[in-house]
C-alpha cells in the first residue's frame, strides 16, 4: 500500500526557495548584464505588436488561472497572487 507514514519524501525535484533566488539572480544577471541584448528604438516594430504582449487577453488568462487553481496544487508564475476563494 502506498502510504507514507512520515514526511520522508525526497527533496523537491525542481527548485527550492534558495535555488529559486539563485536562479533568478543568475537570470537577472544574464539578462540585464548583457547590454548587447535588446534592440534600437527603430527596431521595435515587432515588439510593438499587441500580439507580442506577454498577456494578450487578461480576462481569459485570469479565468484560466482560476480554473487551474481550482484543480491543481500549484500557483504563481506570471502573478504572485492566487486564490481568493474557498478552494482550500
Amino acid at each position: 500500500m502506498k502510504i507514507r507514514l512520515n514526511n520522508t519524501k525526497p527533496a523537491g525535484r525542481f527548485v527550492r526557495p534558495v535555488g529559486l533566488v539563485l536562479v533568478l539572480l543568475a537570470g537577472m544577471g544574464v539578462l540585464s548584464g548583457c547590454a548587447s541584448l535588446g534592440v534600437k528604438p527603430w527596431e521595435r516594430d515587432q515588439m510593438a505588436k499587441r500580439s507580442m504582449r506577454p498577456v494578450t487577453h487578461p480576462i481569459v488568462a485570469g479565468i484560466d488561472a482560476h480554473i487551474e487553481y481550482s484543480k491543481e496544487g500549484s500557483t504563481g508564475g506570471q502573478s504572485a497572487s492566487g486564490g481568493g476563494c474557498g478552494c482550500n
Binding site: 525535484r13 515588439m47 491543481e72 497572487s81 481568493g84
Partner: protein, 478 residues
C-alpha cells in the same frame, strides 16, 4: 450544506479579475496586459505620429495602437462544465479601464460566479451503498438544494440534517449545491519619474461561506534603452472560512452537529521579475514568486474514509486535516517570438511547496492571422504534479491517525493536458470579439495496487475532465 464541495468547480475570477485589472491598469508591467504595452516603445513610425493622434485622425494600426488616453470596456462570459454531471459554472466578467495620456491608469472589474452541480467530497467508493449525514443551516436548504440522493430533514438548534445516500460502486458525490460568488477589483498605476511605474490594487471576493480581502503594490523600472524591465510586487490576502454550521475540528467524526466558529488565513507574497527584449523578434520574461500562508487551510466540507484494512470497506468518516502553514515558490520563464505576422508563445513554470508538491507546467500557442480581421490561436498546456506528503485516499482502521491527511485531488499525483483554440475577430479601430474553447483532461498517477480488498487496483483519482468556453468583447474609445 455540509456536503457541499468547495473545490473542484470553484471558478471565478478573483485571480482572474485581479490579474486582469492589475495588468490592464499597467500594474507591474512585468506581466504586461492588453491595455499596457510591455514597456516596449511603439515603433518609430507610431511614435512620430503619436498613438492618440493616430486614433483621432486614423487610420489606426490595429496591431500596434496604444490605449493611452482611451477608455477600454471589457466583457466576457465563461461557461464551464465538468464531465459526469459534476460542477457547472457561468461567470460573467465586466471591466473598465481609464487610461490617461501620461501612462496613468485606473481599472475596475466585477465578476459574478454561479456554480451548480455535484462534486467528490473525499469518501472512497464501496461495494454497498453508503450513507453520509451532515448538517445544514436552516434556511440554507434553498441554496444547497436536495438532489436525487440527498434528503434534508429538520434538526435541532437551527441545524437541519442532510442525509446523502450513494449507490454501490460509485465515487461519492455531494449533489445539488448552488453557490454564488461576487468579486470586485480595483487597480491604479502611475508613472514614477521617467522610467518607472508604481501600482496599487485591491479587492474582495464574497460568498456565503467564504470571503477574501486582498491588496497589492508593485514597482517596475526600465533601463537598457527600455529593453529591460525590472519588476517587483508584493501582495497580501486575508481569508475567512465561515460555513453555515461552522468549521469542523480536524479528524472529528462527520456529523450534523454545530461546529466551531469562523477561521481565517493570512497570506503574504511577492514577485520579482525581469522582462527582456532579446532581439527584434524575441521577448523573454523571468519571474520568481513566493508566498506564505498561515491559518486555516483545511477544506471544512471534505472528509476522509477510514477503511477496514482487510476488506477496504468504510468504517467511519473523519473530517480532513491539513497543516496551518504553507510556503509556495515558483519560477516562470516565458517567451514571445514573432515570425512575420505569426507569434509563438512558449513558457515553462516550475513550482515547489513545503507540503511536498512539485510541479511543472509547459505551455505553447501560436497566434495566426487569417486575413485582415480574423485570427486563430491554437494552444496546448501540459501540467504534472507530485502528491502532497499528507495526501491519502483513505486511512486504515488498524493504524494510528497521522498528523495530517487529505484526499483532495488537488493534492494528488496527476498530470493534465489542455488543448485550446481561440478565434478572434477585430471590429473597428480598437474593438475585438473573441471566443476560446479549452478541454482540461487530468489523469491520476497514484498506483493503488496495494490498497486493501475492494480498493485494490481501483483508480481512486477524483479529478474531473472539463470543458470551458469563453466569449468576450473588448473595445476602447475616447
Amino acid at each position: 450544506m455540509q456536503l457541499k464541495h468547495k473545490s473542484q468547480g470553484r471558478l471565478a475570477g478573483v485571480l482572474g479579475a485581479m490579474t486582469a485589472s492589475l495588468l490592464a491598469a499597467g500594474a507591474g508591467a512585468q506581466t504586461g496586459g492588453e491595455d499596457t504595452p510591455i514597456k516596449t516603445n511603439p515603433p518609430v513610425q507610431a511614435q512620430d505620429q503619436g498613438a492618440s493622434q493616430a486614433y483621432e485622425s486614423g487610420p489606426v494600426d490595429r496591431e500596434t495602437y496604444s490605449d493611452e488616453g482611451l477608455t477600454r470596456l471589457d466583457g466576457a462570459v465563461l461557461v464551464y462544465q465538468e464531465d459526469g454531471g459534476r460542477v457547472q459554472a457561468i461567470e460573467p466578467v465586466l471591466g473598465v479601464t481609464f487610461n490617461g495620456r501620461d501612462g496613468e491608469a485606473l481599472s475596475l472589474h466585477f465578476t459574478a460566479d454561479v456554480l451548480t452541480g455535484a462534486s467528490p467530497f473525499g469518501a472512497t467508493p464501496w461495494r454497498d451503498s453508503q450513507t453520509f449525514v451532515a448538517g445544514v443551516k436552516a434556511g440554507d436548504e434553498g441554496s444547497t438544494g436536495a438532489s436525487g440522493n440527498t434528503v434534508t430533514t429538520p434538526g435541532n438548534n437551527g441545524i437541519n440534517i442532510a442525509t446523502t445516500t450513494v449507490e454501490p460502486d460509485t465515487l461519492p458525490l455531494a449533489g445539488g449545491f448552488h453557490d454564488n460568488r461576487y468579486v470586485l477589483d480595483i487597480a491604479y498605476s502611475v508613472p514614477w519619474g521617467k522610467d518607472s511605474l508604481v501600482s496599487i490594487g485591491g479587492g474582495g471576493s464574497f460568498e456565503t461561506d467564504y470571503t477574501a480581502i486582498y491588496g497589492n503594490v508593485g514597482y517596475s523600472h526600465d533601463f537598457n534603452q527600455k529593453n529591460t524591465t525590472f519588476s517587483v510586487s508584493g501582495n497580501f490576502e486575508f481569508d475567512t472560512s465561515k460555513p453555515g454550521i461552522g468549521n469542523p475540528t480536524p479528524f472529528s467524526e462527520m456529523s450534523a452537529d454545530l461546529k466551531n466558529g469562523n477561521r481565517s488565513k493570512t497570506t503574504i507574497g511577492g514577485l520579482v521579475g525581469v522582462t527582456q527584449v532579446m532581439s527584434r523578434n524575441w521577448l523573454a520574461q523571468i519571474n520568481a514568486t513566493i508566498s506564505y500562508s498561515s491559518g486555516y487551510q483545511t477544506d471544512p466540507y471534505r472528509i476522509i474514509s477510514v477503511v477496514d484494512h482487510i476488506s477496504g470497506g468504510p468504517t467511519r468518516y473523519l473530517y480532513e486535516s491539513r497543516p496551518e502553514k504553507r510556503t509556495r515558490t515558483s519560477m516562470y520563464f516565458g517567451n514571445k517570438i514573432s515570425h512575420g505576422d505569426l507569434v509563438t508563445s512558449l513558457s515553462i513554470r516550475g513550482y515547489h511547496d513545503d507540503w511536498g508538491i512539485n510541479s511543472i507546467t509547459l505551455k505553447a500557442s501560436e497566434y495566426i492571422p487569417l486575413g485582415r480581421d480574423i485570427y486563430i490561436e491554437p494552444g496546448i498546456r501540459y501540467y504534472s504534479q507530485s502528491a502532497a506528503d499528507f495526501f491519502r485516499y483513505y486511512l486504515l482502521d488498524n493504524q494510528a491517525l497521522p498528523e495530517f491527511a487529505s484526499p483532495d485531488s488537488r493534492l494528488d499525483k496527476f498530470s493534465a493536458i489542455t488543448p485550446s483554440l481561440m478565434v478572434g475577430y477585430k471590429i473597428g479601430k480598437t474593438g475585438e470579439i473573441y471566443a476560446r474553447f479549452s478541454h482540461y483532461k487530468p489523469t491520476g498517477k497514484n498506483n493503488q495496487v496495494n490498497a486493501p480488498g475492494y480498493l485494490a487496483g481501483r483508480d481512486l483519482f477524483s479529478g474531473a475532465t472539463s470543458n470551458s468556453f469563453i466569449v468576450g468583447y473588448s473595445y476602447a474609445f475616447r
